[in-house]
Symmetry: C2
Subunit: 230 residues, 2 copies
């Protein structure tokens, strides 16, 4: 059986949980606190980041974007016309651009700050950066998320899904990151109706159910977090 | 004819120049100063980063990792057994892990600091961050590069090339980033003989010649920069 080393509020891990479930892969989930830099985990992924997928045969696949490419290559064709990566090279460029946008830029500007400051710091020892959240980082994230929300609204209004007329890994990457921000109550949904409608569509997919059931001890999600009709 | 928007000392641009040349693609090079956030360039790549490839038919391919995947998909097969991406899914994982390592982690810890502080800041207007370099950032990069040099030495000694027994995009990504650091004289080559031997091998490829001829006005390269027998 496959294993996924993840953290419940790690947006990159959530992306792979979504991609995996859409493909019928239900790995055993093992929680990893990447800030502990556990020796055995560092051997699986020298970069020290979640998620890492271990295949049933022991093959190690580290890193969200890399796992998504790997899953498409090994299991994507079986999805037929529900495949999460388009066949056309130019369309694949747009999907990859947006996956990179959310896994990279959005994480650096929004979800990384919020998850680190509001969640991870509660569990870190003081000498590893634990303690109260840095409010400047949280404020920056709350400002930045508004621009990204508009961009999602613009893309979904002009294209139906973020990268084109079908749902792709780009939608799952975006929704995974947004779901973490939404857990923390930091998405100003009222500012963009199109973005909200897009998120409601992704959120209603069966693959999303497990994410909506996640709970972090001592930190309840926002009131509408698991509400499909928010 | 294809166009590549790039900057001569942008490590991500250099990576694509290497990959392109290995594939026989010789795009027209157009220098872009990404920090100017030029409107027409932002339309090509909303992330605002170099490189961006424009195909002869006008198709836009933004971002180093994405361009490399695209070039492999559209032109890779023609290389036969010199193809830069392996056919096996697990081997592709390792190549992508290392491309991500250098384009992401190495850039964040080493090449990004050095190029920004020593080069870009000289050309930026003061209100966009121009001015004298931040010596703390440079010192951090010089410390970090030593760990990466050891990692390159370890990989090349145990595998011949970084990701396995053949040269792949992983070697070109690593060498592109290292070449920028080497231009600035900040690679402590004497600390790892294996890494040095690996770099000498990549550097001697014909694709590397154009990079070794690059000169930034007012900033000469290190004495051994273009020396194949350094």
């Amino acid at each position: 059986m496959a294993i996924l080393y993840h953290h419940p509020l790690c947006p990159h891990s959530r992306f792979i949980r979504l991609v995996g479930t859409e493909m019928g892969l239900e790995p055993e989930l093992v929680e990893e606190r990447s800030w502990e830099r556990r020796q055995d985990f560092m051997l699986l992924n020298p970069a020290g980041t979640t998620p890492v997928l271990i295949e049933g045969d022991g093959a190690v696949v580290p890193g969200a974007t890399i796992i998504a490419e790997y899953l498409d290559e090994t299991r994507g064709a079986a999805l037929g016309d529900r495949r999460l990566m388009p066949a056309d090279a130019s369309e694949r460029v747009e999907v990859r651009r947006l996956v990179d946008w959310f896994n990279g830029k959005f994480f650096d500007e929004v979800s990384g700050y919020l998850v680190t400051e509001k969640i991870y710091r509660r569990f870190m020892p003081t000498d590893a950066g634990g303690g109260p959240p840095d409010m400047n980082a949280i404020r920056a994230a709350r400002t930045n998320v508004r621009h990204h929300l508009k961009y999602i609204g613009y893309l979904s209004a002009t294209r139906n899904w973020l990268a084109g007329d079908r749902m792709t890994t780009a939608d799952l990457a975006a929704a995974a990151h947004m779901s973490c921000v939404d857990y923390l109550g930091d998405v100003p949904w009222t500012e963009d109706e199109n973005a909200k409608l897009w998120y409601a569509r992704v959120k209603s997919r069966p693959a999303f159910r497990a994410l909506l059931a996640d709970r972090i001890p001592g930190m309840a999600p926002s009131a509408h977090y698991a509400d499909l009709d928010f």
